[in-house]
């Protein structure tokens, strides 16, 4: 498969994630869309890793890409734990997860 298709697919997913961040008000869904963005990057990395194996011809050439995906997942997990904790804390105080209500700090 030509790599362009994969890049196109990944950036499309990425953009959908961005659009999601922009048009949703629910903090959790916004966060989910960010996860979608991360996954787009993951997909791209895997695709590239396979490309590199093909172009260089070395058996382990693209493996770092896949390792990176692994790390991204790890970090994402940590981030999710913290993020959800923060959202819950917020919810506990305001009973809302609407990010449009976050406007005490402005100007």
């Amino acid at each position: 498969m030509p790599i362009q298709y994969y890049i196109a697919l990944a950036v499309t997913l990425f953009s959908i994630g961005v659009v999601g961040v922009l048009i949703r008000r629910n903090a959790i869904i916004v966060f989910m869309c960010i996860e979608l963005m991360l996954n787009a990057a993951n997909l791209l990395l895997v695709a590239f890793s396979k490309t590199h194996t093909a172009t260089t011809g070395l058996p382990l050439a693209g493996i770092d890409g896949q390792i990176f995906v692994f790390f991204i997942m790890v970090v994402a997990a940590a981030e999710v734990s913290v993020g959800l904790a923060i959202i819950v804390m917020m919810y506990r105080n305001t009973h809302s997860v609407d990010i449009d209500f976050l406007n005490r700090l402005k100007n």
Binding site: L22, R25, V30, I99, L102, N103, K106, N107
Partner: protein, 640 residues
Amino acid sequence: MNLAYLVPLFPLVGFLINGLFRKQLSKQAVSVVGCGVLLASFILSLVLFFDIKAGGAGVRTYFDFINVADFKIPFAFQVDQLTAVFLLIITGVGSLIHIYSSAYMQEETPQHFARYFAYLNLFVFSMLLLVMGANFLIMFIGWEGVGLCSYLLIGYWFKNDTFNYAARKAFVMNRIGDLGFLIALFWILSKTGTLSYHELFTPDMLAKFSRADVTAITLLLFVGATGKSAQIPLYTWLPDAMAGPTPVSALIHAATMVTAGIYMIARSHLLYSLAPFTNEIIAIIGVATAVFAASIALRQNDIKKVLAYSTVSQLGYMFLGLGVGAYGGAVFHVMTHAFFKALLFLGAGSVIHAMGGQQDSRFMGGLKKFMPVTHITFLLACLAIAGVPPFSGFFSKDEILAAAYASSPVLYYLGVLGALFTAFYMFRIYAMTFLGKFRGTQEQAHHLHESPKAMTIPLSILAVLAVIAGFLGIPAIFAPHAHLLENFLSPVFSDLPAASETLSHQTEWMLMLVTTVLVIATIIWAWKKYADYQKSEQQETGLSKVLANKWYVDEIYDGLIVNPVMKFSNFLKNVIDKTFIDGIVNGVGRFVQYSSRQIRLVQSGQVGGYILMMVLSLVVLFVIFWNQAYILTFIHWIFK
């Protein structure tokens, strides 16, 4: 010659003593010091005069005033025949007026009395610097110095705002003239690099000037002269300067300071001889001033104002003389004028003194019997100024008019017209003051008295001089030893090219005769007309009103120059400076604040908004990155 520096030093010392210790000194001490230094100066001047007569002219350098590499201006005095004559006039007339003042100013408090004498001494010092300086810069020092003293003395009674205004007007008008003088100096400097007479007035140096240079320089110097010597168009300060004490008017505004312009032009006659165009201008301005000022004097009632316009007019004659090349004649007239005009002023002062400050001649009359000495001396002076032979004015004026005739008959006719005016207004004022009945208040009549000795003695001395001084310049047609003064001055003016045409004796006789007859006729007419002057409430009309209002020159100046300048200043101050320039500066500040208020609205507090901005910025950055070649070209174009 070795003692030359003492001549100005004495008045300076007098100034310092009177100025610094004005609280401590009594009036007597002040007048002794004030008059004493002047007398000392006068004696020294006499010594110098004889020294020079014996051929002791020369230059003395004392120290480097300005010395910058190629630019050297020494502090030096040059004493020659011309200087000597002026020295005598200044110190001589000056001494008399100082003595006169000591009586005239008796009513002042000691402190102000001392201030008066300090100023007066300072004036003499400045004037002496002016005439003794060996270069234009020293002359300029004196030139400005006398202007300053004139300012100080006009505004001597500083509580009166009109007087202050007159003083300021005098100073500013003088400054306008000084501007011309100064520019001329720079011009000379930039061409030759020197201002010293003895270096400058050599053929080599003069050859460095182009024709245009000479014309410009001489014209500019003449502008300076019009300021100091009250010629059209800068004469208006002089009548106003009568605000000062009368002896001051006599000394500064009649006898000495105002003749500085004549001295200066006479001093730089070599330059002027190279600039025929300028000479024509000088002659025209001179004669125009002579007639114009005289015409104003015809309808003035204030005795000092009449004398002031008369001074302006007489100075016009002197410039006419300079313009037509009669330098000797001009200097001669300076001298005679100094005597008779000082006399007139002092006489007027005496009258005013007696009248308790009243200057309007409509309220005088019949003073003949109360003040015999004043009356006689005043009459003599009037005869002298009117040019009745054999009084001094006759000879000096005649010499100028003769030279004018030789140059151009039109100048002569105008000159004669001015002379007739002079005769008329002088006898008008004489008649109004001394003849007829007394028209003042009862109280004034009680106080009428002859002035004290200290005033009348100078009057008498001056009267004698006014009568006989003419013989110093008696024309050749009268006597074998003619032109004494001119002969004495001849070393100074010898380097001039000989006059192209001299008048025949016949013509000279005829001219004299005509003038004399006309003048005497005018005098008789004026005498008749005003001997029994009565006040009338009738408003003046027509030309006479215009004359009484001095041709409205002050008003025209106000309208054309003063007010526009003030308006312009206001415009600059309020509109340009405050609104425009400062407005821009403050506007920048306000703009920043305004944009701050606007830009901070972007910081809406909405996460969505922030992320939207980030995404958009990301897009913009990409676009910029992809198209930056164009943008860079644009930026370089801006900052090139």
